[in-house]
């Protein structure tokens, strides 16, 4: 067995442990430096993950853990997200008081969960890595334990996350019982006969419930706005980017990689889910005044757009998901970096707190504006091309499926509605209301770095999509190879 495949994960765990241990010797005043060091280390990991030294493709642990282009894509993705979150946290540190290094460590452990999820090719690993993510996020969400909203967010995530885990576990049990295996490759090989088994299908659906919870798709979206609102900004950012992406990588592995035929039969389900998610997120966000909660609803709506790629059920759809997620990551990280940078100066998450931001910090104002514009899917930013790819993948699948045209119409309506609330925020930034306080908001260097990286990412993905498109295309191409029922080796 090739243990070198999990080098990255081992390094990440070690890094987390190092941070935990280092905390003992690092004086409270220099913990920020710890964060910077950690960021540097994560940067090295990222370079390692996307560089040529990265583990070659292959599988380990009896086919449970695979490294392929898809996994590498998402590992890079998660590492970047973690890096940005760590840097953002450095600026957010005063809010956490003493627990800063623990926050870093937990972020890293959540990252570890995500890294494993990216490679998970077995339902056991699915479960374990998702639980690692879930439990870590329970802690991260309630990290500001002096604020009762943070605790409330933690409790909500705990209970609802628990319910979803329970459903998922039961689903895994049913799948195990019917397929007599948990390995996706094996399941893929048997999918034709398994498709006849109602129990298997129920089990699969229950697993989807668990993943639907992770990505905050209707009807499992309820937690998202509350938790986004209550959690500390960096945790929310990581939740929005990392956790959602983890959900999607598993969804792709399961639906596109393992059971594409069954997924195709459930076409109607995904159409309804996607449409409902888009509409729910968009509509509920309209009257929203709390910025983080708004981002929560926006995250729901974006889950709906991402589901379009699942609806398409094609390689193009998966490519689109990958591309969209990358753009989404830059965008959401940028937005939350701004939110957390502002949170240090304005004790409010309300949109009105943004008034006068145009004067107080042109940089933050510009970045937040760009992020919102990108979320709204307007060129030249990342969100635009991502949406184009998603729409294209659905329209390619559309002939013969009239409901897909309706779905596209819903998506268009959703984009227009979303424009309304995103631009409502832009309005608050530039001309809404009178701000009593016009003092400048200083932006620390690490935050600047994150902001610039995110802006660069948004622009590059919007203007030069070629590079990432190719990578995403490759990543997905590998997947469809694996889906072919020739691959499975004995799982037990």
């Amino acid at each position: 067995m090739n243990y070198s495949l999990i080098t990255l994960e081992i390094l990440a765990v070690l890094l987390g442990l190092t941070v935990l241990v280092a905390d003992l010797w690092v004086a409270p005043a220099t913990r920020k430096a710890l964060g910077l060091g950690l960021a540097a280390a994560l940067g090295c990991l990222l370079a390692f993950a996307v560089g040529s030294l990265a583990p070659q493709s292959g599988s380990a642990f009896t086919g449970m853990f695979v490294v392929d282009d898809l996994a590498r894509y998402f590992k890079g993705f998660f590492l970047f997200a973690a890096l940005a979150v760590v840097l953002m946290t450095v600026d957010f540190a005063p809010k956490f008081g003493a627990g800063l290094s623990e926050f870093f460590a937990l972020t890293l452990f959540a990252l570890v969960g995500m890294l494993f999820a990216a490679s998970a090719s077995d339902l056991v690993l699915f479960f374990v890595s998702l639980e690692l993510i879930t439990v870590t996020f329970i802690v991260l969400n309630s990290f500001q334990r002096t604020r009762s909203v943070s605790l409330e967010a933690g409790v909500k995530y705990l209970i609802l996350g628990g319910v979803s885990s329970a459903f998922m576990v039961f689903g895994i049990a049913l799948i195990f019982g019917t397929a007599n295996a948990t390995n996706l490759a094996v399941i893929a090989a048997k999918q034709k006969e398994l498709g006849q088994s109602a129990l298997f299908l129920v089990g699969l659906l229950l697993v989807l419930v668990g993943l639907g919870f992770k990505i905050a798709a209707v009807p499992f979206q309820m937690w998202a706005p509350d938790v986004y609102q209550g959690s500390p900004a960096p945790a929310t950012a990581f939740l929005a980017v990392g956790s959602k992406a983890a959900g999607f990588v598993l969804l792709i592995r399961l639906l596109v990689g393992a059971v594409p035929q069954i997924a195709a039969e459930w076409h109607r389900l995904f159409v309804v889910m996607s449409g409902a998610t888009i509409l729910y997120g968009s509509l509920c966000a309209i009257p929203q005044r709390n910025l983080k909660r708004l981002m929560g609803y926006s995250s729901v709506a974006n889950a709906g757009y991402l589901l379009l790629g699942i609806v398409a059920g094609s390689a193009a759809g998966s490519t689109a998901i990958l591309y969209y997620l990358a753009g989404y990551a830059f965008t959401v990280l940028a937005a939350f970096t701004v939110i957390s940078a502002i949170a240090n100066h304005v004790e409010s998450d309300d949109i009105s707190a943004l008034s006068g931001l145009g004067q107080r910090s042109p940089l933050l104002a510009a970045v937040l504006t760009m992020a919102l514009v990108s979320l709204a899917g307007i060129p030249p930013l990342a969100g635009f091309f991502g949406k184009v790819l998603l729409f294209k993948s659905v329209l390619e699948a559309a002939p013969g499926h009239p409901e897909l045209y309706a779905l596209i119409a819903v998506a268009v309506v959703g984009v227009v509605i979303s424009l309304y609330y995103y631009f409502g925020v832009i309005r608050a930034i530039y001309w809404g209301g009178q701000s009593a306080n016009l003092s400048t908001i200083p932006v620390a260097l690490p935050t600047r770095v994150v902001l610039l990286a995110c802006v660069a990412g948004m622009l590059v993905l919007g203007i030069f999509p070629q590079g990432l498109m190719k990578i995403a295309d490759h990543a997905v191409a590998g997947l469809s190879h694996k889906a072919a029922p020739s691959a499975p080796k004995a799982a037990h």
């Binding site: 890595s129 690692l132 109602a198």
Partner: protein
Amino acid sequence: MPQFTDLLFYALAGLTLLFGFLTVLNPLSRNPVTSAMFLVLTIMSMAGLFVLLHAFFLAAVQVLVYAGAVMVVFLFVIMLLDLKEDERRHFNKIAVGLGGLSALAIAGTLVASIVKTVPVATGAGRLAEGETKALGRLLFESHLLPFEILSVLLLVATVGAILITKKDLR
């Protein structure tokens, strides 16, 4: 002709469900301590079912870890917090109704699909014996990776529990 083990199954299954029901919706007591006690009983009777299924090691784990450790912590915390106020609150009838409804529906769905898929008389074929040794091999060979990840999870839980309950900041 019913064998003893069959009767045992029905008894244990009935107890499990009864205790389970009393855990979540004890009509006589709304006290969480009572619930916790019934949960312990549920777990115990489930351990009995495990034994019937020849999963001896898991039965032991179930009793030791679940009933022993986990539930003790539960009780400890509940008593520590002294949740008297909660007893005064009645069941929310709507919630109970909706809960019952959804539980019934889920049960119906699951049972229906089980009935549809799994034949009542499980045919012959080799039944697994829950040999601890084999289990251990599986755990440390093919499932080493999840096992190790769980260690990270436990670390997270430890750190998290400490962090969250810590009263003041350093």
